[in-house]
Amino acid sequence: MGKIIEILSQYGPDLLSGLFLTVQLVTLAAILGFLLAIPVALGRLSKNPLIFGLTSAYSMFFRGTPLLIQLFLVYYGLGQFEFIRDSILWPILREAYVCALITFVLNTAAYTGEVVRGGILAVPKGEIEAAKAHGMSSFTAYRYIILPRAFSICLPAYSNEVIILLKGTALASTITMMELMGVSQLAASRTFMPIQVFAIAGILYYLLTLTITRLFALLEARFTKYITHAR
């Protein structure tokens, strides 16, 4: 116990800033990933074989390979190509933060795309027919009927994806990022007390998981109000 207090007094501020960076990465990647997941889901449902093929291949690749490899592909791999090194984007693409964010967004969008696809397929057929009968264009029907409905249907499954994303961000430490895991590794090697330091990190991660679960429970209550009211 004394050791834990010692670690907290020495590395408390670092752990907090790491925690903040982790939260920031998860939040940004979750929002951007969800926005990307919608076109991915629509592509996976498209009747156009080219669009379907491309989105399916993207989804297959990012769901079928380890996140760590994807992270290294972006962070170390992109520099292999001269045209990328010569491009104006290179100063940005060289940053670990940008690479980590790009990877997490692409990765979570592939998984979330499947969740959203499931949500869209679960929208009752009658509602879509009703929208059409009212003369709604395909876009209007998606914007006002199908997507909002799919969103509330897939919220519970989406909360799992965000938790998986949170656990994935721990890998950002392998490309030099000082998020919660990176700070913990540094503190563990400096104090020679890995068990205690990692136990603190574990508790912080678990608290974040509980927070995400709680947040989604609130969101779910908000977005399924029409169902609870009807009862």
């Binding site: 297959m60 380890p66 791999g77 136990a199 990190a201």
Partner: protein, 223 residues
């Protein structure tokens, strides 16, 4: 391209270790999951509650963190027992297998719990009435029905375990990921080799999806 051919044997050796680790994880993880599921279904709250708490906690923290706790923590504990002069460290394979098994087992316990509960109670009572022992009930009544329900969940966990093996390269296991690292650094063609390794992982995923499809067909015969 010539580089790729030159480093292919290295990648294949890595692939073997990755597969070995994944298969060992599957076997031990399924056993751990079964035991944990039975503990969760125990009528004694002193057994079921702590198991629920621990598996929930383990499912809420990064796999990478679990691996590092076991690898570095294990070395710390051994150092405390054997004294600071000892230079014994935990092997990367052992640490990886332990960490991945713990992760697999925690998730599998939920899969198996749901599967156990899907077997109607009347069947267990009938087995009891027919004089089946607990083992016989498990082997001949529960098992054949549990598999059918558990296969989709276990298949997801298997895919996850295969991908998680890449993490063990960070603590020094010479798996596919680490072979790709070495090839990438030597050849200075990181994209080529990480992509090659990624495609090998994808191949494992596709082959196992096909095998699981066959297994599912077999488990579902009669339904």
């Amino acid at each position: 391209m010539t580089n790729l051919i030159e480093f292919l044997p290295l990648l294949m050796r890595g692939l073997q270790i990755t597969l070995l680790l994944a298969v060992c994880t599957l076997i031990l993880g399924v056993l751990l999951g079964l035991v944990l599921a039975m503990a969760k279904l125990s009528k004694n709250p002193w057994i079921s509650r702590p198991v629920f708490a621990v598996t929930n906690f383990l499912r809420g923290i990064p796999e990478f963190l679990i691996l590092l706790i076991i690898f570095f923590g294990g070395t710390q504990v051994l150092g405390n027992i054997l004294g600071p002069e000892s230079s014994i460290t935990v092997s990367p394979f052992g640490a990886g297998l332990t960490a991945l098994t713990i992760v697999f087992g925690s998730y599998a316990s939920e899969t198996f719990r749901a599967a156990f509960q899907s077997v109607p109670k009347g069947q267990l009572e009938a087995a009891h009435a027919c004089g089946f022992t607990r083992w016989q009930t498990f082997r001949y009544i529960q098992m054949p029905q549990i598999w059918r329900v558990a296969i989709p969940g276990l298949s997801n966990l298997w895919q996850g375990a295969v991908k998680d093996t890449a993490l063990v390269s960070i603590v020094g296991l010479d798996d596919l990921m680490r072979s790709a690292n070495q090839a990438a650094q030597t050849s200075r063609e990181p994209f080529t080799f990480y992509l090659a390794a990624a495609l090998m992982f994808l191949a494992i995923t596709l082959v196992s999806m096909w095998l699981i499809g066959l297994l599912e067909k077999r488990a579902n015969r009669g339904f």
